[in-house]
Amino acid sequence: MDITWGSQLQYHAVYWPWPIAIYLFLAGLSAGSLMVAVLLKWLDKNNLPPWDGLIRAGAAIAPITIILGLVLLIVDLGKPLTFWYLMLYFKPSSVMSIGVWLLAVYTPFCLLFTMAIFKDHFFSGTLAGYIRFLQPVVTFYENNSVKIEVFLLTIASGVAIYTGFLLSAAIGLPLLNQPILPLLFLASGFSAGIAANIIIGLTVFKAVVEPKNLKYLLMLDLRVIPFELGMLFLMFAGMHFLGGAHALVGIQALTEGFWAGVFWFGVVGIGLVMPLIVAVTALHGHSYKKTTVLFNSVILLLGVLLLRFYILYAGQIYTG
């Protein structure tokens, strides 16, 4: 320590590190997977079992990823064993508190969707004896599926959107303090949901994937990606015109150090431009290779993960 007044470490620490970045990714992914599965279920001839592999993929991914994400959130607390204090309070001024209650509703509904899609596995396997009491709930869901699915879509987009507001509430960190962040996270979460459902659908449930459903998802993705690119452009252009610390941090985040590299090569290059090129060159028409589709989905997912890392780290490191 060569500074008279003491260590500077606490002023440059990243207080929300990698577990939070992965959580933000998983929350968006879970919400996206669920939304995509519901949208597919609403398509013509998809609304009755046997469920399409891409719907099953969403039903499998959504609860697993959100529960994993919640574990990461708890582990990252300074006092992990006090996490239940969050359930004692509701503070509408705190995006985190709003998020906790969104998740408290979202997670069980997510599991309900999963149980309905995998009804045969849950209620006839070894688990059946323990969860028989849930059978009426699943039956209720089946009888009111559209209404409940509208609610599912709403609360899933709520989860994806709140992760953006969580960061944008930081008024002293210009890269986080962005009105467009909730929308960007919703779009990229949706895109991650498409990619993950395709990956799991084409590997685990490949026997029951309808080509028309796969084509529908690829078509959706081709609309989300340019939208995301546009939003990133809006975000940095907006920072530039805001001036002051926002303009300064905008330049830093695009040009300085490791995280600028992550943005250009990872977020934009691997995650958005490359999938766009693959989609335009190799995925048009009626015949495309499964490996190409899988490769495209993997890089897309990687891009979404890197976007969360980039925003969170660059947002805390570059402060103007």
Binding site: T4, Q10, K79, F83, M96, A169
Partner: protein
């Protein structure tokens, strides 16, 4: 009688960056090693050689009247009391660090002993609530720190602020700090 509303004045003209305030703070509040509620940082040199000068900056909580760290807290551990002092209730704090991320003044940190968020308290619990001044103010040897009640028109801070031009840190954020800064008159174009 109206509640008290505690405020502090930091006069950068009188400060010599001796760090006596910082040491007093550490002793009074048992701040763990390598963590700081308060530092006096030196900025500069400003000006053109040989006419050079240093400026000083008190790095601590600025005790906002509209503190961004309070509404973001999910449990209410981070709160502002009826005397305008922003405090952390260690028992309610779960260590989510949202307040640290939300503070535009980098005034908060994680206390390595309690795992809770920690910050300057104006020594409210140990001194101010008992009629004493904060440890940093008590120890300041040049009179660069003043402390008092904004609701009392004759308090030391009100009298001083009436006669001295002062600034607020990051005023544009509308946080309404109660740490009033008398900026250095030494001048010198910034390098």
């Amino acid at each position: 009688m109206a509640d008290k509303k505690w405020a502090m004045v930091y006069d950068a003209n009188k400060c010599i960056a001796c760090q006596a305030c910082s040491v007093a703070c550490r002793v009074e509040n048992n701040v763990p090693e390598n963590l700081y509620r308060l530092q006096v940082q030196m900025e500069g040199p400003n000006g053109v050689y040989p006419k050079l000068g240093m400026n000083f900056h008190r790095q601590s909580c600025v005790m906002c009247n509209n503190p961004p760290c309070v509404p973001v807290c999910p449990t209410g551990a981070s709160h502002i009391n009826n005397e305008g002092v922003t405090l952390v209730d260690n028992n309610k704090c779960i260590g989510c660090k949202y307040c640290i991320v939300a503070c535009p003044y980098k005034a908060r940190f994680v206390n390595s002993v309690t795992s809770a968020a920690d910050k300057c308290t104006f020594c409210w619990g140990t001194r101010v609530s008992k009629g004493q001044k904060p440890a940093c103010v008590e120890q300041c040897i040049t009179g660069a720190l003043l402390f008092g009640d904004l609701n009392d028109p004759n308090s030391e801070v009100n009298v001083y602020l009436r006669n001295h031009h002062h600034i607020l840190s990051k005023e544009h954020l509308n946080t309404k700090p109660k740490l009033y800064i008398i900026p250095s008159q030494r001048g010198g174009v910034k390098a």
